[in-house]
């Protein structure tokens, strides 16, 4: 009797085992097979190096360098006391700072903790040599972005940062993933698609300690494409240094085809700060009162001041409101109703024709000319010269500026246009707002015989030439342009021209200065110019925020830049 019960107990226990085995090894096998795969297979992302950004002569502007991080694998980091004290003396950082950092960044025993990012090569070698005394400590090498010229071309080149959730939502179908680096502003943003490579991956088999056993599969990362700029980085650097502490912008362009040779905005910032994120410095940049990240050459609109007289003169000549014989007499004042408008020269310029008026930048002459044209015609020619809309330069965040006319004022302000505003319009003041790049576009159009070129900054991507920009004929007669060009040449070359300070020995230069009221009692200083006058190769615009008179520092800078361009073989 009892042996039968005993037998039954044994039978049922073994049946239980059989059922347990069947359940685990047959019914639930897929789950466990998956888990066992997860156990042993790790996918390691191999990040593709980003394409380089090079200048017109092949100099690297933004490249890649190897960043060395001191990393700790918590699971293997057994001898903490010894480890921290050694690392502290190698890295020259206090022990408790390292400990705090380690504890703050510790997620779980398997995830490496970056203890010290971007350490020097010497330190990395020392740590490598002592690795056997410090189990769990190792050096990780990653390619990262290196902005060689630091702040000289910051707004132009842009910077990179980790992709944000908003961007990710927009871009994930283009293959962007969390933690990807994405270009922010400048060329990095505009050409991100080409610069970013295609990440690869490696499937490796690991053992229980996460140590690599063998490679199961490999997808090679595809390097991003190199982008070649039209910019001459040496000129760029030179201009950047010319500014010193000053604020403003300067753009240099080949007026024949729109190739940007330099595009400087000041103050600037070092984009490397964003590569190995240094939160303190980033905060400093973002909260800076002078907005160093702003590209003043394309994203800020200013009143053009006297520079605008080029457009007004051209308009009057084209509309036959003026001929070269027509003179206005400047006695320093212009009366309109009971309003009085001043010329900048208190005693007046005397009788002025259009050529002299441009050379002397006589306000009275252009008050009169403005009145002859009326706001709508001035607006029409402004728009012809490219004001009021983006030039289409291949950089993000270009602004349109503002070209006012009667209709605009009625809609925007619900008021009629006053005659006084027309007079002011004639000298480039009032509601009118222009960006330095637009001003340069106008200058180039005068220089190249009436063509509006699209400024561009990228010559080719890898081996594909993309420089063929659009060129549009403005339909302005050669006659009018000749008159304007002659006048502008006198601005620099006549001894009493307003832009005489821009003169460079051995170069024929045409130019125009401008001193724009800011409405706060200070003035922005402008200078535009091109050279050589007959067959221009270089056109430039200089804007100094609150820089006093255009004929002074702005013109001096213009001259220096022409000289440097000549030295660099651009002229």
């Amino acid at each position: 009797m009892r042996d039968k019960i005993f037998n039954t107990i044994i039978n049922s226990l073994f049946s239980l085992l059989a059922v347990g085995l069947f359940y685990n090894q047959v019914i639930r096998a897929p789950l466990f097979m998956q888990l066992s795969q997860n156990n042993r297979i790790r996918v390691i992302q191999l990040s593709a190096p980003r394409g380089k950004i090079l200048d017109r002569n092949g100099k690297v502007v933004a490249g890649n360098r190897v960043r060395l991080d001191c990393v700790i694998m918590p699971q293997e980091f057994i001898d903490k006391e010894n480890g921290f004290s050694r690392l502290s003396s190698i890295l020259g950082m206090p022990e408790d700072v390292l400990k705090k950092r380690f504890n703050r960044r510790l997620l779980n025993p398997f995830t490496p903790v970056v203890l010290a990012p971007d350490i020097s090569k010497e330190n990395a070698i020392t740590i490598e040599e002592e690795r056997f005394n410090m189990p769990g400590v190792f050096i990780n090498a990653n390619p990262i972005r290196d902005y060689v010229y630091k702040d000289a071309a910051a707004q132009l080149v842009g910077y990179i940062g980790e992709i944000g959730q908003k961007e990710l939502d927009k871009l994930d179908r283009y293959g962007y993933r969390v933690n990807d680096l994405v270009g922010r502003s400048g060329i990095e943003e505009e050409y991100d698609n080409y610069l970013r490579g295609e990440d690869g991956g490696m499937q490796i088999e690991v053992d229980s300690k996460g140590k690599q056993n063998r490679v199961l599969g490999l997808k090679e990362p595809k390097e991003g494409r190199d982008v070649y700029l039209t910019v001459d980085i040496e000129l760029q650097k030179y201009i950047s240094e010319l500014f010193g502490e000053g604020r403003g912008a300067c753009v240099v362009m080949n007026p024949a085809n729109g190739e940007i040779l330099s595009l400087v905005s000041k103050p600037s910032f070092d984009p490397n700060v964003f590569v190995v994120p240094d939160n303190f410095k980033i905060k400093e940049i973002l909260s800076g009162k002078s907005h160093p990240m702003l590209d003043r050459a394309i994203s800020c609109a200013y009143p053009p001041g006297s520079i605008f007289k080029i457009a007004v003169a051209t308009a009057a000549l084209e509309e036959r409101k003026l001929s070269t014989d027509r003179e206005f007499i400047c006695n320093g004042k212009f009366h309109l109703g009971n309003q009085v408008f001043d010329c900048w020269k208190e005693n007046g310029h005397g009788p002025q024709n259009v050529i002299n008026a441009l050379k002397n930048s006589c306000n009275v002459f252009f008050y009169n000319t403005g009145m002859l044209l009326g706001p709508d015609l001035i607006a029409k020619y402004s728009q012809k010269f490219g004001f009021g809309r983006p030039t289409g330069i291949d950089l993000p965040q270009e602004t349109s500026g503002l070209v006012p006319n009667k209709l605009w004022k009625r809609i925007k302000m619900g008021e009629t246009w006053y005659n006084g505003e027309t007079a002011n319009y004639g000298i480039g003041q009032g509601y009118l707002l222009t960006t330095p790049i637009q001003v340069l576009g106008m200058t180039a159009a005068v220089a190249n015989g009436g063509f509006l070129v699209r400024p561009h900054i990228v010559k080719r991507i890898a081996s594909v030439d993309i420089s063929a920009g659009s060129i549009r004929k403005l339909g302005i007669s050669d006659n009018s342009l000749d008159v304007v060009t002659t006048s502008l040449r006198k601005v620099v070359e006549d001894d009493n021209g307003t832009g005489v300070k821009a003169r460079v020995k051995g170069l024929s230069i045409a130019g125009k200065t401008g001193t724009a009221q800011t409405g706060r009692g200070t003035t922005h200083a402008w200078f535009v110019g091109f050279s050589p006058v007959d067959k221009p190769k270089v056109a430039l615009v200089v804007l100094l925020e609150e820089g006093g008179k255009g004929g002074l520092n702005a013109a001096i800078m213009g001259g220096k830049i022409f000289k440097k361009a000549q030295e660099l073989g651009l002229l």
């Binding site: 009892r2 042996d3 005993f6 037998n7 044994i10 226990l13 073994f14 239980l16 085992l17 059989a18 347990g20 085995l21 069947f22 685990n24 090894q25 047959v26 639930r28 096998a29 789950l31 466990f32 097979m33 888990l35 066992s36 156990n39 042993r40 025993p109 088999e205 690991v206 053992d207 229980s208 300690k209 056993n213």
Partner: protein, 366 residues
């Protein structure tokens, strides 16, 4: 001493099945240790081979004498076993935080293994002598009193698993020896009531941890629960046909701790699949069934009691060990008979099989 007629009753199947299981174990031990160090692997397989040779010598000796002789010496055997258990607490070798082994040159000897067999013989002698129709309470209490010192000494080594094996031996022998059901129930109730006291005062922290982890392995996936989880993954991922000998990734890549000893079954499960593990379980089943058939063919109560104790011991170890690797029972350190690495366990298991065959051979003694 072995008469021809008796030799005819020698249960070759039992021995063959046992050796078969041993060979499977040997292959698994090789597979389990191969990746760590070739030298170590070789030495473990060699040691296990030496152990089987010793086992077979012991086997032959034990089969040669009538098992009644062992009953005669039972109290001497009991005394020696108890003495060794006390001795190991003083001069034993400490490994994994437990003091269970004597050092004998390159080998170690585990007195708790010997205690299992000693208990079987002692209880057989004690109960068999007094067995009439049903067991008197005094016999029952005396049996318990004989078991408790051994259990206690083993439990404080600590070796909870083996202590539980002793309990299994006691219960199966009392049951088959004819304990009254009301006595059995009261013993069980007493045990149940004393469980909380046991939990508080007798269990070490790591043992409590293991029991808690059994209830929820994911509570501590990197600590105590790790072994169960990895073992389940290993067995489950073997699927029907297994990943092949030496090809189990859980095993070869070191995800399984203690895999050449207590968790050796997970290697079978992973590398040989459901097919292989089912065959192994079947072999164990045949082993137990043969033992039980010897029980029914024997009229001698000493022999029957010894068979009951040995069957209880083996079945308990097999079922608990495999169920533990499947996550069906808490992790208690019990070796899988004939499979797990370890000389003492192998020799004692082979000895108990020798006793079974011995009893089977001499059933017509009367």
């Amino acid at each position: 001493m072995i008469y021809k007629q008796r030799f005819e009753n020698f249960d070759f199947t039992l021995l063959l099945v046992a050796l078969c299981i041993f060979c499977i174990g040997l292959l698994s031990i090789y597979s389990a240790t191969r990746t760590q160090e070739v030298e170590l692997s070789k030495s473990l397989v060699t040691k296990q081979l030496i152990s089987i040779v010793i086992s077979l010598v012991v086997f032959t000796i034990l089969v040669s004498f009538d098992y009644q002789k062992y009953i005669d010496f039972s109290y001497f055997i009991y005394a020696v076993s108890l003495f060794l258990l006390v001795l190991v607490l003083f001069i034993g070798r400490t490994k994994f935080g437990a003091q269970r082994w004597f050092n004998l040159g390159p080998f170690t000897f585990q007195p708790s293994e010997f205690a299992k067999l000693a208990l079987v013989i002692t209880l057989a002698s004690h109960i068999g002598k007094r067995r009439v129709y049903d067991l008197s309470l005094s016999t029952v209490i005396m049996s318990i009193l004989l078991t408790i010192p051994m259990m206690f000494l083993i439990a404080i080594e600590p070796d909870l698993g083996t202590a539980l094996v002793l309990a299994a031996i006691l219960f199966s022998m009392l049951y088959m020896g004819g304990i009254r059901l009301k006595h059995l129930v009261s013993i069980m109730l007493t045990g149940l009531v004393s469980l909380p006291i046991f939990w508080h005062y007798a269990l070490r922290d790591y043992q409590k941890q293991r029991l808690l982890v059994f209830l929820n392995p994911n509570a501590d996936p990197l600590g105590a629960g790790y072994t169960i989880i990895q073992s389940k993954i290993a067995i489950g991922s073997g699927w029907v046909f297994g990943k092949g000998w030496l090809a189990g990734t859980q095993n070869q890549l070191n995800f399984l701790p203690e895999r050449h000893s207590d968790f050796i079954f997970s290697i079978i499960g992973e590398e040989w699949g459901f097919l292989g593990s089912a065959i192994l379980v079947l072999l164990y089943f045949i082993l137990i069934k043969h033992a039980l058939s010897i029980y029914s063919r024997t009229n001698d109560s000493y022999g029957q009691l010894m068979v009951s104790g040995i069957v209880g011991m083996l079945a308990f170890q097999i079922v608990v060990n495999i169920a533990m690797t499947l996550g069906l029972m808490p992790v208690v350190g019990i070796p899988l008979p004939l499979m797990s690495y370890g000389g003492s366990s192998l020799i004692i298991t082979m000895s108990s099989i020798a006793l079974l065959i011995n009893i089977g051979m001499r059933r017509t003694v009367f």
